[in-house]
């Protein structure tokens, strides 16, 4: 069976702005794919090209193997939820949901049954007669989702569906959307600029920057094995340390200290490179701990973040290097670090990723 969605080398320009350059992507049946990237990177453009609301300059769009590159939106068979929801204000929730069914020649009973089913699915059975203005933001969002799903499309597109909601509703709706998607088992492309949202919801994440797809992978892959420095910095927290290649392959120097790094880029001695390590991967250790990659750093700030505390550290050297380190509440009590203290710490080689210099 052909994949649900297949994008082949899509390119799109607006005047001199290149919104997308050579973007390729496949979405498998039932898969939830998040397109993640900073604002203006071309996510919406990509989604609208799949939807046929924007015309690509080059490349092909296939839905279930059918080439729809030149077809109008109405002939592509998908449901879409926009950032604004675009609910029809003069129609009740039920009429909004029925909107796509009324032109299909269904009889009334069948439409009513389908509307009931969808109201049930999004947990709004008692809101059928309310107008959009009488619904909360989260409820509007669910009605929009139900409307998009009503004609049983073979693809669901979501453009920043949660960005207009406040934080608590947003968290609840993440689960709601995800569970609806699972139950209906519909292939879905969701656009977001919120990396947490993408990590929490996606089966696979597509990270984009400046119209280019930087990496496609599971949340775990994207988080643990970022392929580029951009992905490393954009997804999750990341310390970035400028360094130079050491004479030994797989080693780098930061100031006077030689550090053993993860396998990866091999560069001639002295070449500039960037080391990256996540705050939770920095290991605090007592002085004199004889391990690889041990350093002494000074605490310049503490930020209490609930479950853990983020220590701001500087490494000694001609150019002081900043480093964040997350310490669980219990562990911090043991170490007892205060501002101004010097601490020994280790940067495990397995966590020290190497990228070409930024």
């Amino acid at each position: 069976m052909p994949p649900a969605v297949e994008l082949v080398s899509i390119a799109k320009t607006f005047g001199s702005v290149v919104a997308l350059a050579d973007a390729s992507l496949t979405v498998a049946d039932g898969e939830f794919v998040c397109v993640l990237g900073p604002s203006g990177c071309g996510k919406t453009t990509l989604l609208r090209i799949v939807a046929g609301l924007e015309r690509q300059n080059a490349g092909a769009v296939r839905l279930r193997g059918r080439d729809v590159s030149r077809l109008p939106p109405s002939q592509r068979d998908y449901g879409i939820v926009f950032q604004s929801y675009a609910l029809f204000p003069n129609l009740t929730a039920a009429r909004n949901i029925a909107y796509g069914l009324e032109t299909r020649g269904w009889d009334r009973a069948r439409i009513a049954a389908r509307v009931d089913e969808l109201l049930e699915l999004v947990h709004l059975p008692h809101h059928r007669h309310r107008y959009p203005a009488q619904l909360s933001g989260g409820e509007q969002q669910r009605v929009a989702l139900a409307r998009a799903l009503a004609p049983s499309p073979s693809l669901l597109l979501l453009d920043e569906p949660l960005s207009a909601l406040d934080a608590r509703v947003r968290l609840a709706l993440r689960h709601e959307i995800k569970s609806v998607q699972r139950r209906v088992s519909i292939p879905t492309i969701m656009v977001t600029h919120d990396q947490e949202e993408a990590l929490a919801m996606a089966d696979r994440i597509v990270v984009m920057n400046h119209g280019v797809i930087e990496q496609i992978g599971t949340p775990h892959e994207v988080y643990m094995e970022p392929r580029t420095l951009f992905v490393a910095r954009f997804v999750g927290q990341m310390n970035v340390v400028p360094a130079r290649a050491d004479a030994r392959a797989g080693w780098a120097r930061v100031g006077g200290v030689a550090l053993h790094c993860r396998e990866g880029v091999t560069l001639p001695e002295g070449a500039a490179l960037t080391l990256a390590i996540r705050p939770e991967e920095v290991v605090l250790g007592g002085a004199g701990h004889a391990a690889e990659n041990t350093l002494v750093a000074r605490v310049v700030g503490l930020q209490f973040l609930g479950a853990f505390t983020r220590l701001a550290l500087t490494l000694p050297g001609d150019v002081p290097v900043r480093l964040d380190c997350d310490v669980a509440a219990g562990a911090l009590a043991v170490v007892g670090a205060k501002e101004g203290d010097e601490l020994a710490l280790a940067l495990p080689a397995s966590a020290l990723r190497v990228f070409p210099a930024a």
Binding site: A51, N57, S74, P89, G100, A133, G211
Partner: protein, 564 residues
């Protein structure tokens, strides 16, 4: 960026029925604008460059226009009248609007109502009223034996001022209402005096409103034909000069030449007004707090007296018109009679029925065209959107006389198939709706802009054709504006004279034109009676509209009022 070059054009979408329908509608709208706006205007330009036999003569007509003092003086006269009226009207209107919005004087509702009276009457009615009172045989002239010499500059300015007053008051009331109370609180907290507050807060806040009122009044007056025609005497302005050249001397090329020259100040005023209005919006912020005027006895009393005088003047005009239509022979014999309402010299009520029919048709067709046109331009973006927008807003800068002449050139050209329209009511309906097209078009555009741009995309994704969403969502959402547009078309069509005066034919007389013709023929009492009928019809329709609006509001209340 990929090394491969990206083609600079997006791929073409495959043809489908909806796209074809959309294009066909756009093509129809483009054809309408081309045939009834662009082509007629081009005719005026080309005719101004030809001689009577249709030979190209370059700027010869213009040279003759400026070199003939009798005709050239119409330019300076027009500018003098328009400038004088603008200054007088805007000052009077400002104080009136200030009283309505910034004082606690009694009876503001009544004052708002009375000031709107002139909107319901053809402009020449104010001229006729002034003649009844100050003319050679006027009431005051006979009582006092003193003739103020109303015919000419004085009379035109006086009558035009009353004609233009409601338009200026509407704009200034809107500008003064939009004021932000917080600025005034700040000013009084800083201990600013009342005069200082007025100069530093009030005036800058309404600056754009005042400018806009100036341009609107200027355009109204310089393009008006009715008032100078009845009260101007030998004082010729450009609008009457076009009429004289065309109707009086059958000199169409000179008519076209004067038209083109008249287009310049009228179009300029419109363009500047548009630019100014764009600025005005930037002044309003969503967080503004409306101002509640404080009580102040002295000021309120002064403003009350002022409003009583102005509103009294307007009321007097319409009372004189009403009275003169109901007495045997003003001002000699005041025996009551209804004989003037028989209109025996112009063949009874044909003109009235024609006017109602033409206005109703213009209202219905105009509303459909303006709304659908705005939809096509705004929601179906194509390469044609820009040019269509320009053509849709162009009519506002075309004076009625010029439009009428353009239609003569277009629909009364020898051997043209378009001639079928000439002499029919259809051409009057068309001229009404084109003449008043721009404001409804822009109102509709603004209403459409407020709607979510994704409505059409959502429907497309659901497989619902665009015309169904237009009917089920777009139209219901804009219903209040749509009803308002149709009223605007109707009321204006009832009172307009300038384009129609060139286009009426035996059988298609219109009430407003009949007023002019009867006045010209000396049947002033019948002219007054006809004016009274026009105003009464306008009132009736306005009342109907208020009822309709109440129904619309009730229907839309459910979804516009959040009951969370």
């Amino acid at each position: 960026m990929s090394a491969r070059a990206i083609p600079d054009r997006p791929v073409r979408q495959a043809w489908h029925a909806e796209a074809v329908l959309r294009l066909a509608l756009i093509a129809f709208y483009a054809a309408f604008l081309t045939l009834f706006v662009l082509y007629p205007m081009l005719q005026v330009f080309t005719r101004s460059l030809q001689d009577g036999q249709g030979r190209f003569v370059g700027a010869a007509n213009y040279v003759r226009y400026f070199a003939t003092p009798a005709i050239a003086s119409s330019i300076t006269n027009s500018l003098a009248v328009a400038t004088g009226t603008t200054l007088l009207t805007v000052v009077l209107a400002f104080v009136y609007a200030y009283a309505l919005t910034r004082s606690t004087m009694p009876l503001p509702g009544l004052f708002r109502l009375v000031i709107m009276l002139p909107i319901f009457a053809p402009s020449l009615v104010q001229g006729i009223a002034f003649i009844y009172v100050f003319g050679n045989n006027g009431l005051l002239t006979r009582w006092t034996g003193f003739n103020v010499g109303i015919y000419g500059f004085k009379g035109i300015v006086a009558a035009e001022t009353f004609y233009a007053l409601p338009h200026a008051v509407l704009i200034l009331v809107a500008a003064l209402t939009a004021a932000d109370a917080r600025l005034y609180d700040a000013a009084s907290a800083l201990g600013a005096s009342r005069v200082k507050t007025f100069v530093t807060v009030t005036l800058p806040g309404v600056k754009y409103g005042v400018m806009s009122a100036c341009f609107v009044v200027f355009t109204l007056v310089i393009t008006d034909f009715g008032v100078p025609k009845v009260i101007g005497g030998k004082y010729s302005v450009m609008a009457t000069e076009i009429y004289n050249q065309v109707i009086g001397q059958q000199n169409f090329t000179m008519g076209a030449t004067v038209s083109v020259v008249l287009l310049i100040p009228a179009a300029l005023a419109v363009v500047i007004d548009r630019l100014v209005q764009r600025r005005q919006y930037a002044l309003l912020t969503a967080s503004s707090v409306p101002l509640r005027p404080a009580r102040n006895r002295g000021r309120d009393l002064g403003l009350f007296v002022y409003c009583t005088l102005v509103a009294g003047g307007i009321a007097a005009i319409y009372l004189v018109i009403l009275a003169s239509s109901l007495v045997t022979r003003w001002p000699y014999d005041f025996t009551p009679t209804t004989k003037h309402y028989r209109f025996d010299t112009v063949g009874g009520y044909t003109a009235v029925w024609n006017s109602i029919e033409a206005a109703a048709l213009a209202a219905v067709i105009g509303t459909v065209l303006a709304f659908a046109g705005a939809y096509l331009v705004e929601k179906c973006r194509t390469a044609a959107s820009g040019p269509l927008y320009v053509l849709s807003v162009l009519p506002v800068s075309v004076p009625g006389m010029v439009l009428g002449l353009a239609y003569i050139f277009t629909f009364n050209a020898p051997g043209s198939p378009l001639n079928a329209l000439y002499g029919t009511l259809a051409i009057l309906v068309l001229s009404h709706l084109v003449h008043y097209f721009t404001v409804p078009f822009l109102t509709a555009t603004a209403a459409l802009k407020q709607m979510d741009a994704e409505f059409e995309n959502v429907s497309a994704s659901l497989g619902v054709p665009f015309y169904r969403t237009f009917w089920r969502v777009t139209v219901p959402l804009a219903l209040p504006q749509i009803v308002a547009l149709s009223l605007y078309f109707f009321l204006n069509a009832m009172v307009t004279l300038s384009a129609a005066v060139f286009l009426v034919a035996p059988g298609t007389e219109l009430a407003a034109v009949a007023v002019l013709l009867m006045d010209d023929a000396g049947d002033t009492a019948q002219a007054a009676a006809m004016s009274v009928l026009i105003i009464a019809i306008g009132f009736a329709v306005r009342l109907l509209y208020a009822l309709l609006m109440r129904g619309v509001t009730r229907r839309t209340q459910a979804w516009t009022v959040a009951t969370r």
